[in-house]
């Protein structure tokens, strides 16, 4: 199984979150919005090369800055 970041996968892929890098602050913030280890999310789109990544987690749609998306490590189902 290959580890890959949310920024690298293609739109419309469904993945499982393995790890959130970048410190407890970011992790707890994402956690409170419903993005945490083990959660299944779907990538909806990626705006531009270095732009934000839009994901669907549960029933919420979230936009993550590019640098945030790079810190979210996922695995393909």
């Amino acid at each position: 199984m290959k580890k890959i970041s949310l920024a690298q996968i293609k739109p419309d892929e469904k993945v499982k979150i393995l790890e959130i890098l970048g410190g407890s602050n970011l992790e707890s913030k994402l956690l409170s919005m419903g993005v945490y280890k083990g959660k299944l999310v779907a990538k909806l789109s990626h705006i531009g090369l270095k732009g934000p990544v839009v994901i669907k987690a549960g029933r919420s749609i979230l936009a993550l800055g590019h640098s945030v998306a790079e810190k979210i490590i996922v695995e393909r189902e």
């Binding site: 739109p11 602050n25 970011l26 707890s28 913030k29 994402l30 956690l31 409170s32 919005m33 419903g34 945490y36 280890k37 959660k39 909806l44 789109s45 990626h46 705006i47 531009g48 270095k50 732009g51 934000p52 839009v54 549960g58 029933r59 919420s60 749609i61 979230l62 936009a63 993550l64 800055g65 640098s67 945030v68």
Partner: protein, 576 residues
């Protein structure tokens, strides 16, 4: 004994709408996270006693991550837990995400009542929730409501008294999510359905190609419609009223005036070719009401109509996502587009809403950019009114200069200011189509606010200026600044008065320029200078509040410096 009722919930679950329903106090509500940046208070009658109700800014958890969230959490701790009731408002269409805060509130031992809001929208989207079961599992009252229509609010008020604290052991967030998963399994049932048109449009607006196409179309349409409505009101309602009804009355009135002395000058102003000219007379009864009602108000109405529509539908966060890339280069992130857009209405709410931005550096950049590069509706209306007749070239010229300034300034500030720009993390709300009466209510509220704020300043301002002009007290200021103005900016000395007045209100300042007979180029420079120089008194006050004294001084130095540079450059480029 309940002393206070707090409304708390995730961002964008309709807390402010519930608040309005409970207290009768109107507050602005929109479909994007972070509408409420100031804490609103009102009263509710419970057992014949008035209890204060507090509308808190939205928060995802009790561990705050932004300034608005911090304010919400710290307020909860003001009173002891026995004296308060916490009404936890939940978006029924997204129960799962909302429950984290709910569990935390219950764990902390707050007396909680749960208000499952937007229950009708949940039904439309095929989300079914077993309220009874949820109440059983959480051991606190759960009421389903639809605050927009008022459904369930009565029951909510009745059951506020039943709020109980049922503390449970403390968990970590990770454990809470597991618990939430178990709860959701028991209470929520999702109807499987195909993608609706609304969902397809929701998706399309955050994809790069379709999103940008939609954004372009929507911004263009918004601009066109704003102008169309504004001009329509002017040519069909306000102008006919002023010319056919108000002017004859005033002229009758002034023809009976025995001697045209001080009072005549003050109230009516100068007669142009023996007649009152609303654009040039400069009297308290002539030009002052004409500027506010005949030139500015129509655009205030049309601008806020379009803005409110975009806000309520939920389009703005999508624009934030699309513009994140660009705004990153200015040291901001996508969400800053909302304060900037609000700033186009009036800089005051724009500056206030920079509170949704997390870092001090971002707030400083956003506040400075708004005060310099974003002209408010009154100023824009006057720019259209005055410069428009020379051709669209000049009007777009002003916007072009301001837009370039924003970009350049943002790039420079983000290079030289220390501090960090936090990550972009934004929840995108679904599109919602609130009933029309909500839109009217909001529009009415904003226009009323505009009139209350603007009218006294305009009337007193024009009055004051007329007195100064009549007794030639401005001559002193003019004598000092005229050489600078003439040498640097190529403007006549009379423009000193107008530019000084800009500190009071931008629309009146532009109004003062009307009788001067400036050339198109001079007017262009004046309009640009008015937009970028000092903010008006009202924005000045909020700027001081938001940035602190040091930040304010820094920001003002930037404004003055840029005004001088831009004014001089424009002068040498276009007037020579």
């Amino acid at each position: 004994m309940i002393k206070k009722i707090y409304l708390i919930g995730n961002p964008n679950v309709g807390k402010s709408v519930v608040f309005s329903r409970l207290t009768g106090v109107t507050v602005i509500s929109s479909n994007y996270p972070g509408t409420t940046v100031e804490i609103a208070k009102g009263y509710l009658c419970l057992n014949n006693e008035k209890v204060e109700v507090v509308d808190l800014p939205g928060t995802y958890s009790l561990d705050p991550t932004s300034r608005a969230e911090e304010a919400a959490v710290s307020l909860l701790k003001e009173f002891s837990k026995e004296e308060i009731v916490v009404v936890n408002i939940i978006d029924s269409t997204n129960l799962e995400r909302n429950l984290l805060l709910t569990l935390q509130l219950i764990e902390e031992g707050f007396p909680v009542v749960i208000c499952m809001n937007m229950c009708d929208d949940a039904g439309h989207r095929g989300v079914h929730i077993n309220i009874v079961k949820l109440e059983e599992l959480l051991k606190v009252p759960v009421i389903s409501t639809c605050a927009l229509t008022g459904k369930g609010i009565k029951l909510l008020i009745e059951r506020i008294k039943e709020a109980v604290s049922s503390p449970r052991g403390k968990f970590t967030h990770q454990e809470r999510w597991l618990e939430i998963g178990r709860i959701i399994e028991q209470v929520q049932w999702l109807e499987h359905r195909h993608h609706t048109f609304r969902e397809i449009m929701e998706d399309a607006s955050v994809r790069p190609v379709t999103g940008l196409l939609m954004a372009g179309g929507i911004i263009y349409a918004a601009f066109k419609i704003t102008r169309f409505i504004g001009e329509g009101i002017i040519s069909h309602i306000t102008d006919p009223f002023f010319i056919n009804i108000y002017q004859p009355i005033l002229e009758k009135f002034s023809s009976f005036w025995p001697e045209k002395g001080f009072w005549f000058h003050l109230l009516i102003g100068d007669l142009i070719n023996g007649k009152i000219d609303f654009k040039q007379s400069l009297g308290v009864l002539t030009t002052a009401p004409y500027i506010e009602f005949g030139m500015v108000l129509p655009y205030v109405v049309s601008f806020y109509f379009i803005l409110s529509l975009l806000e309520d539908v939920g389009y703005l966060p999508r624009l934030a996502v699309l513009l994140d890339n660009l705004l990153h280069r200015l040291g901001l992130h996508g969400y800053a587009v909302i304060p900037v857009l609000l700033g186009f209405g009036c800089n005051v709410p724009g500056i206030l809403s920079t509170r949704v931005l997390e870092s001090k550096r971002e707030r400083f950049i956003a506040c400075t950019i708004i005060s310099i590069g974003v002209p408010c509706v009154p100023l824009q209306a006057m720019i259209f009114g005055l410069l428009g007749k020379f051709g669209g070239f000049y009007v777009s010229g002003v916007y072009l200069v301001l837009f370039s300034l924003m970009i350049i300034l943002g790039i420079i500030l983000s290079r030289f200011l220390s501090g960090y720009s936090p990550e972009f993390l934004l929840e995108i709300p679904p599109y919602r189509f609130p009933p029309l009466f909500m839109l009217w209510k909001k529009l009415y509220f904003r226009i009323k606010g505009f009139l209350i704020e603007a009218m006294p300043v305009v009337l007193l301002g024009v009055c004051f200026i007329n007195i100064l002009l009549y007794f030639k007290l401005f001559d002193f200021v003019t004598a000092i600044f005229a050489p600078i103005l003439h040498g640097l900016f190529g403007l006549p000395k009379e423009a000193v008065v107008a530019l000084t007045v800009g500190f009071l209100r931008k629309d009146v300042a532009m109004g003062m320029l009307m009788p001067l007979g400036l050339t198109a180029n001079q007017l262009f420079i004046c309009a640009t200078l008015l937009a970028i120089s000092f903010p008006c008194v009202a924005s000045f006050v909020v700027l001081a509040k938001e940035l602190g004294l040091k930040g304010l001084i820094k920001s003002i130095l930037i404004m003055v410096g840029i005004s001088i540079i831009v004014g001089a450059v424009l002068h040498f480029v276009i007037l020579r």
